[in-house]
Symmetry: C2
Subunit: 380 residues, 2 copies
Amino acid sequence: VTDRTASDVTLRVHVAGAGLIGTSVGLALRGRADVVLTDVDEHHLATAVGRGAGRAWDGSTTADVFVACVPPQLVPGVISAAMDSRLAAVFTHVASSQSRVQLQVESQVPDASAVCGGHPLAGRERSGPGAASARLFHDRPWVVCPGTSTSVRARDAVRRLAAECGAVVIEATPHDHDAAVALVSHLPQLAASAVAAQLLNGAATALDPLQVAGPGVQDTTRIAASDPRLWVDVLRSNAAHVVPLVRALSDDLRDAADALEALADADAGRRHADAEQVEAATERLEGLLARGVAGRARLPLKRAGARDVHVVLVSVPDRPGQLAGVLAAAAAAGVNVEDVRVEHLPGRPRGLVELLVAEAEVRRAREALASSGWDVVDAS
Amino acid sequence: VTDRTASDVTLRVHVAGAGLIGTSVGLALRGRADVVLTDVDEHHLATAVGRGAGRAWDGSTTADVFVACVPPQLVPGVISAAMDSRLAAVFTHVASSQSRVQLQVESQVPDASAVCGGHPLAGRERSGPGAASARLFHDRPWVVCPGTSTSVRARDAVRRLAAECGAVVIEATPHDHDAAVALVSHLPQLAASAVAAQLLNGAATALDPLQVAGPGVQDTTRIAASDPRLWVDVLRSNAAHVVPLVRALSDDLRDAADALEALADADAGRRHADAEQVEAATERLEGLLARGVAGRARLPLKRAGARDVHVVLVSVPDRPGQLAGVLAAAAAAGVNVEDVRVEHLPGRPRGLVELLVAEAEVRRAREALASSGWDVVDAS
């Protein structure tokens, strides 16, 4: 490594925009780079500087990398202005969709070869410099997205920036990045919101459906509690990839409803349906559910052998320290808890703790917990 | 309380079907009722008896309550046969949708007044008597669903059965029950499966979308890993309530795709769109997302003040005991951890632990964890 971004030379970084991401970049680089900060919001800037994310830019210092941590629609203008003032050698941004911004960069910026986009996948439900963290990017993917005009020097500088922030550097074209996040981020967001929106339709009967809501609907709708305005912008900027996926999802659901209606009609004798028609409808519905099982299995949920992970349920009083006690008892027995989930039961003084452990450790976990006095649901 | 199901008299229960639910009923009633078991599968029966769920039926003993823990389509036949043989005074079942079964009971069973349906909401991803648990129903809703012909005696006996099993007894008509579970169970199941099914479409680019999959898509698709055959039966039996919800969801998603496409066309200058049209499309999309936020807020996620619960992130080595250590440190500082979530980072030797704590305890939690040597992500 002999170029001027070599890791033995201190990286000089100019962060424009001291929000959650910009301030976190500064905090992550503390001791690893020389960081200057700018923000149109003086309060944000002061907070970021106060937290140690860097020093306020003096109006003249130049940098190796300029990072535009601003809303996507502002990126081309901010980078153009910074380039005009020769503030840095390389320019990047952190837009959650890349193709549109890259297109604008290529048409608006004096030298597009000095620009390489990037997207740290480290979304948080909060925003602002107060929510920033030195470890926000730690072990999370940071997709570095060179355009066709991007120079190797620009790409390598952005790769180094992401690595210095502790992220896992992944390289992809803007197109491939956008296709990927459409599938694993934008589509699930819209689907979760649409399912949650249906919950507003539930008050027409004497039984409030929320009384019987379990962990399934909780999980399925968790990300629906996100800022609608922010998400309109995100979805709009990646519409080319999101629209076909949303249409495919809508079509699959309509097909499922059609199949289900055909089965219901046959069951009720409302329509003449021969065995073949019923079988075809069953296969369509079962086919969608089976594709769901296969799609779900592609997600890296467990480190290895997802099939042999089992649940151990413990009923605990809903007060401080219970969860820690359960896990301490499991740890004392040498049981590796792969994952844990807590369910608070509405209006009840107890909660349920679900421990996921390898099948080989289920018995030991149960025995250890029960013998420590915990109320193991499967222990009788 | 003076009738013959009064709680000072030992309840005699006949459980037909020693699967997950039937065996769990037997285990839950141990020491609280006299339970006999039957199953066409001798292996299941032996396992249930071996686990202490009751004794094998001798072919003559009668019971107060007969519980048909068999697939819904078999319920009317099983109850008719049991009634013909005068095996019990009251008959119930545990079907996950109630109206259709109740209709069949009323048309097929000699005395429908002795029948009262019920549905314990205690689904598990596993099945069979080996997965059964004495605490499966503990503090979970058990919806008791009398039909219009059901006697008070039958209803009360089923209420008592559910209460003896440790469940929270909720009473609803079969119709209201089915409408509720369509919304909070059947719709989310189909939606999660349909989103997960889309994940199979992700291999067409150089970047595998699963490389950038985060907790959002994990949560949204978790319940997609369920048995397709079983769910076809469940959805089919409740089609009358499920179909309109699935159609509404499909329509909302299609509308969102239309709005998004209109915005993308306007952005790309592909179509003349005035400011009003763009605003209308934005409002439709933002409206759906905002309804999602409102619907999500109806779910009883936290015991109180969901807004003041914050996340504390801790990075831990992916090995036994780490989670317990983190929680023990929180407990030692008197911090009440409301919920916890673990994210394993694919291919990385570390995981992230998310602790949900009240806002007032965030600072104390961070300080306590950091001073115990834990790698608190927000602590810098």
